[in-house]
């Protein structure tokens, strides 16, 4: 998917490549993350040849990172319009608890529980959208508030205790399994990513979201329905939290109220790091998924070299800061780059 995302930008590189070397620069800008990913695989593959690139390590990573990937795509959607959804961490925790709780306490079949959770999540996303666009509350504040509300509800529902999922149906726990060797959660991510990629890159209405991010007033005067579009990004983000929560329940096989918040930071780190690649300067599906792969595989490699548990936090924090610095730099560089080449025409 990431390779097809470049149909648009690859020809640019070719055309602007008139100046010697600028083709290389463009390639680095567009595919930098892919190159880093390959380097990560090679380095750790050589350092830990027996375990690192083993089938089980790869499929473990793809399974456990699927939730982070879905949440990264979730935060990416409002980010296209310049809005933040800080509720995703608490939201996925809530969805996970409800997915287990509706089955264990509510006695519902797993498809019914999953459907209800996803509908609830859509409603929560719509509430975010309503607060941000109708009540004009800054997205930062509104989603932080909603997140805390969800956390409160999660703990209320469970009384702060874990809901044990002893006899979950095989169909449900099978969601954490694999088909033809490929983890089902990774397949879900691929499908969601493909749909979002089509919407953002190939459907003009979806691309309208980037216009809102660039200049909301101009977008409005161009006939883009800003209010509805932004609200829709929060609804999509909510829905993805619901899907991620259903998967997370299946992976953990229990409903744990303390799970969730720790997903927020890696999700933002991935979305923002993704903005440095494929389509430099803006958040995008291909870049986000590549960033997830890099973060997961790099961290797994560090772990296999024997790093302590707390390294994960250092790692994520550093990546977030570096990612934002890089994406700001990429955007600025791209805008300036051509002061020279544009004037030359």
């Amino acid at each position: 998917m990431s390779s097809s995302g470049n149909e648009a930008s690859a020809p640019t590189a070719a055309r602007t490549g008139a100046k010697a070397g600028s083709g290389v620069v463009n390639f680095a800008a567009n595919y930098g993350l892919a190159v880093i990913f390959v380097l990560v695989l090679i380095v750790f593959g050589l350092l830990r040849p027996d375990t690192y690139l083993s089938q089980s390590n790869i499929s473990n990573l793809l399974t456990s990172q699927a939730v982070t990937a879905l949440l990264a795509l979730a935060v990416m959607m409002p980010l296209t319009t310049g809005r933040f959804d800080l509720s995703v961490g608490y939201h996925v925790g809530f969805a996970q608890i409800m997915a287990i709780g509706l089955q264990v306490n509510g006695g519902l079949s797993w498809p019914a529980a999953a459907a209800i959770v996803i509908v609830l999540s859509i409603v929560i996303g719509a509430v975010n959208g309503f607060l941000v666009m109708r009540l004009r509350i800054d997205s930062f504040i509104a989603t932080m508030g909603v997140g805390s509300l969800l956390y409160g509800i999660s703990n209320w529902y469970t009384d702060g205790m874990q809901i044990a999922g002893f006899d979950l149906p095989d169909g449900y726990s099978g969601l954490a399994g694999a088909v033809a060797g490929i983890p089902i959660p990774a397949i879900v991510v691929a499908i969601v990513g493909a749909i979002l990629w089509i919407v953002l890159e190939r459907i003009p209405a979806g691309r309208g979201l980037y216009f809102i991010g660039s200049n909301p007033r101009a977008a409005e005067l161009s006939g883009v329905d800003v209010e509805r579009s932004v609200a829709a990004t929060f609804v999509v983000a909510g829905m993805l939290c619901g899907v991620a929560g259903v998967l997370l329940g299946a992976i953990l096989r229990s409903g744990t109220p303390s799970v969730g918040p720790e997903y927020l930071l890696p999700a933002f780190a991935a979305a923002l790091l993704g903005a440095t690649s494929i389509r430099p300067g803006r958040v995008n599906v291909g870049g986000t998924l590549l960033a997830i792969l890099i973060l997961a595989f790099a961290f797994s490699g560090v772990q296999q070299l024997g790093a302590a548990f707390y390294v994960e936090y250092l790692f994520n924090g550093a990546i977030l800061i570096v990612a934002v610095a890089l994406s700001v730099y990429a955007a600025a560089r791209r805008r300036k780059a051509a002061a020279g080449s544009g004037a030359g025409n």
């Binding site: 003009p204 005067l221 006939g223």
Partner: protein, 500 residues
């Protein structure tokens, strides 16, 4: 003592092998207001940025008071006022002055009374009626902000003040206030370099004018001894193909495309008029005349309060969204390009293909880069937008090319009524002529246009008919041989006198 405060010889500057300045000369006399003009790319900005110490010069010398100086190495008594005045909008006038000047302190803490006094003092020293120092900057008019942008530079008592297009975002009438302030300053001995694209405003304001072309000095003349035509000739390097008048165009006899009847917007009106197929109608007026609101209401961006608007005999719904107006065939080119029109950081292609509905296509239709490339390339050719690279970011383009791209966004085949706000604000004369040409061709092909402009030269050149709007109502209507710059100016200023 030397009569020249600033004397610059043979200034050169290259960027990546492209010459931006190829030996520019410039002298500024003590106490004069000296206009610096030239097309985009003539080297004015580079020249000013070297003076400000933003760029290092490659060659040449700068003398201030006879002494060779280096703006990169020392702090010179030269102040710069740029066109994009950035203020802290939610803070007071006095605080914004204090940012530029410094906060007066008492015992280490900010002395707020002195902060306010300081602002008043600077205004008074400039002989300008002081604003209330505690007024929020966001409540100021464009002219008041322009003056404030100068005031906050003045505490350092600069000998030279460089004004880089301070009126670019200023309606013509508001500029008058700014000019008075400038003249008072110059009477007090401040020398000024004044950069502007609006040639007509130089007369009566400036003492001398220097023209740059292709990074070189072309001519320096006394304002009293030159004409707009001569200046345009210097700028273009060829005799002015005058802003060709539209008078030879046939009287439009097509169907009535737009009918506005008793329209009230923002509490003003009523106003009414017709535009026929292929007709270009101008709405002119002073700032606050309400003409912009009329265009916005037709487009659905402002709510109508009374009246009817119909297109080809069919009334548009009273309450409607911008999307509905676009479906009905109404287009609006917003006047403030940076804030309301261009999408910074996005490609030329994206800037043009913003909304497929403008071209009568569904925004939910699958599209491919190849298809978009074909569509955009055709437009780049038709509108002569440079560079011809659909993936270039709009930020890289000159003002004129950005404006053409924004125009290309709206001039599809399905437009029936085009509302143009200040269609050539902030673009150079070459692009201006090109844009007028494009608009005339579109009109000849049957499009109807409503031009809302404070540039009376433009209205006289482009429109077949003009209505002077006075507080949201119909004022004098001019057409044919009567539609001249002189008549437009005299009627619009009279309108205000009568109303006052």
């Amino acid at each position: 003592m030397n009569d020249d405060i600033l004397s610059i010889r043979g200034l050169t500057k290259n960027f990546y092998g492209v010459s931006a300045l190829g030996g520019a000369d410039f002298t500024l006399r003590r106490g004069e207001i000296h206009a610096l003009i030239g097309e985009n790319g003539a080297g004015k900005s580079t020249f000013i940025k070297i003076l400000a110490g933003v760029y290092d010069k490659d060659g040449g010398e700068i003398r201030l008071d006879g002494r060779i100086v280096d703006p990169r190495a020392e702090r010179l008594p030269i102040a710069f006022v740029h066109q994009d005045n950035a203020f802290a909008e939610d803070l007071s006038v006095a605080e914004n002055v204090a940012f530029g000047v410094g906060y007066p302190r008492r015992m280490g803490l900010i002395d707020w009374a002195a902060v306010n006094r300081q602002a008043i003092d600077i205004y008074k020293a400039m002989d300008v009626e002081p604003l209330h120092p505690e007024r929020m900057v966001s409540t100021l008019s464009a002219a008041e902000k322009a003056i404030l942008s100068i005031v906050r530079k003045l505490a350092h008592t600069p000998q030279v003040l460089v004004l880089d297009e301070p009126t670019a975002a200023l309606p013509e009438a508001d500029s008058v206030q700014l000019f008075e302030a400038m003249r008072r300053l110059s009477d007090k001995g401040t020398s000024m370099i004044y950069v502007s694209h609006r040639l007509n405003e130089l007369f009566g304001l400036c003492d001398r004018v220097t023209t740059f072309r292709d990074g070189r000095h072309v001519a320096t003349e006394d304002m009293a001894e030159t004409t707009i035509d001569r200046l345009v000739e210097h700028m273009l390097g060829q005799p002015a193909r005058a802003l060709a008048a539209n008078k030879d165009m046939a009287e439009p006899t097509g169907r009535v495309a737009l009918r506005v009847d008793s329209l009230v917007v923002e509490g003003r009106g009523p106003i009414g008029f017709d535009i026929r197929e292929g007709e270009i109608l101008g709405l002119v007026g002073l700032r606050g005349g309400g003409q912009e609101a009329v265009g916005r209401a037709i487009f659905g961006a402002l709510p109508m309060e009374a009246g009817t608007i119909s297109l080809f005999g069919r009334a548009l719904p009273y309450k409607r969204t911008i999307g509905q107006s676009i479906e009905a065939g109404v287009r609006l080119l917003a006047g403030n390009r940076a804030f309301e029109s261009a999408f910074a950081g996005m490609s030329l292609s994206e800037n043009i293909l913003v909304n497929p509905r403008i071209r009568g296509e569904s925004p939910w239709r699958w599209t491919t880069p190849a298809r978009e490339r074909a569509a955009v390339r055709e437009l780049l050719d038709r509108f002569d937008i440079r560079p011809r690279r659909e993936n270039a970011l709009i930020d890289w383009l000159s003002g004129g090319n950005q404006q053409k791209a924004c125009l290309a966004r709206w001039l599809g085949d399905n437009g029936r009524l085009l509302i143009l706000e200040e269609p050539t604000a902030g673009v150079d004369i070459g692009a201006k002529l090109a844009i007028h040409d494009i608009l005339r061709k579109s009109a000849a092909a049957g499009a109807s246009m409503l031009v809302i402009s404070t540039d009376v030269e433009e209205v006289a050149a482009l429109c077949q008919r003009a209505i002077i709007v006075n507080r949201g109502r119909n004022g004098v209507e001019l057409s044919g041989a009567e539609l001249t710059v002189e008549n437009l100016i005299s009627h619009s200023s009279q309108g205000v006198r009568n109303a006052a």
